[in-house]
């Protein structure tokens, strides 16, 4: 059953050195606060999975938490490269980084297959694509009816998935709405799941019957962290901080400026700092 716990306890009790971990979010609802807590707890040798690793993975990599990254697009959206990712991959700083690279379609299908309890996903993909030649986890099957060759990738089954969502109710059920990405699949594919939320409400009586709701018994921990997706956003709560995404590029470009920023903004503060980083759009917030 879901436990409402502190962010510190949620990470300490569910994330372990060497884990395969997905902090998902497709531009929207990226779990920054939870990522910072992982950094503060100095988790090591993590394998990070995400379709679109952005600044939070740059930060985890730059702080030496990461052994390997599995991804399909690793950049700062609309801005450019992930400087810390490149420094780790190209120069081995602060430690060498392995990568496993897929296409979005492959990752989306692999999460879907993970949620569905299958060992692999099949799809029509990677036709003529270079990745199929360099990634041994891209294979194929033949359709037993038409003979068509279809791409196959292993399903994604993280040890832990961490997501940020809009709301939990008192029972610990979680609502995600708007751009829902692969979060439901990432949670259901994982052995353990942690969710940070903007708000805890009494019930979901006013929610659409087919909304994306994760029942409490599919989750290990639910934590309220207001603003916990900043500089990403939470539909209905606050907008994306595009200025921060742009500002990150010079911060991350040098090792020293990166470390100093992390010291001031991650290591020396706690999750409560997030609420003050966003401008809540909802009057009632």
């Amino acid at each position: 059953m879901t436990k409402f716990v502190s962010l510190k306890d949620a990470i300490a009790e569910n994330v372990f050195d060497g884990d395969v971990i997905a902090l998902e979010g497709f531009t929207h609802l990226i779990p920054y606060a939870a990522g910072h807590e992982i950094i503060r707890q100095q988790k090591k040798d993590l394998t990070l999975i995400r379709m679109t690793p952005d600044l939070i993975y740059d930060q985890l990599i730059g702080m030496g938490c990461v052994k390997k990254m599995i991804f399909s697009w690793g950049g700062n959206p609309g801005v450019g490269s992930l400087r810390r990712f490149r420094d780790a991959y190209e120069n081995g700083w602060p430690r060498p980084l392995e990568i496993e690279e897929h296409s979005h379609a492959a990752m989306a299908n692999a999460y879907e297959a993970g949620a569905a309890g299958l060992p692999c996903a099949i799809f029509r993909g990677y036709l003529g694509a270079g990745l199929a030649e360099v990634n041994p986890n891209i294979r194929s099957i033949e359709c037993p009816f038409t003979g068509e060759k279809l791409a196959a990738v292993p399903s994604i089954r993280p040890d832990v998935t961490v997501i940020h969502a809009q709301k939990a109710n008192r029972n610990g059920d979680v609502l995600i709405e708007g751009i829902v990405g692969v979060q439901k699949e990432a949670v259901l594919a994982a052995k353990r799941a942690i969710v940070t939320v903007e708000e805890i409400v009494d019930n979901f009586d006013d929610v659409h019957p087919n909304a994306c709701v994760l029942p409490s018994w599919t989750l290990k921990a639910v934590v309220q962290v207001r603003g916990g997706a900043h500089p990403s956003y939470a539909k209905g709560y606050y907008d994306r901080d595009n200025a921060f995404y742009k500002a990150w590029d010079p911060i991350a470009s040098e090792r020293e400026s990166f470390q100093s920023w992390m010291q001031d903004n991650v290591l020396n503060v706690g999750p409560d700092a997030f609420a003050s980083r966003v401008a809540f759009t909802n009057a009632e917030q």
């Binding site: 296409s103 990405g181 692969v182």
Partner: protein
Amino acid sequence: MNYTPTEMMTVAAARAIRNDDVCFVGIGMPSAACNLARLTHAPDVTLIYESGTIGTKPDVLPLSIGDGELCDTAVTTVAVPEMFRYWLQGGRISVGFLGAAQLDKFGNLNTTVVGGDYHHPKVRLPGGGGAPEIATSCGEIFIVMKQSKRGFVENIDFMTSLGHGKTGKEREALGVKTKGPSRLTTDLCIMETDPDTREFVVTSIHPGVTREQIRDNTGWAVRFAEQVVETPAPNEIELGALRALNERTARAHAGQ
């Protein structure tokens, strides 16, 4: 009216979009071109962003592929696995837009690594994202890209997404049924795909641009069609709509 090369490129790219198209839209130039088309000659065009937003009509251009504006103005927003399975792989997209760090004359694209080899690159780029399957699942591919010798190369360093392959014949060989890259719009000209060789051929040159300029900014031996026309300059309606869109966008993003 005066206009910039980027405005010419955006307007030229927008004109190719038809009212009944279903477009898989990437961020940046494709997004500007698609929304300009929607605001001018193609009001019913369906725009789909890979974040799951279907039939979106943003009032301002999104900065990221998943800005809230896209969801708020969409007919519906679906999960990303559904987007790639039912909508892209399902064959429902008529036009996909792609750009790249490197492009060759067959429309093969590289957004993965530059220099060295895949495992030891000189520059590690963000990667392909949706491109490998966009390239083969959409009815046809429109490429929009500023022209330069660095980007328009004889041989790309990595085949992130298939155009017409290394010889122009790979799509048929692989059983790919979609058309692939059919149109390349740059800040200098429009190239279209030769139906036989599948090479890009310049078919329209933007006003004031010379053949020399196009050659100087292309890493392969450029071919010009027998009949090359001059691209009509952006008209008042097009420029007005584009500038208003850009102004709204700048205002909205500054306000954040």
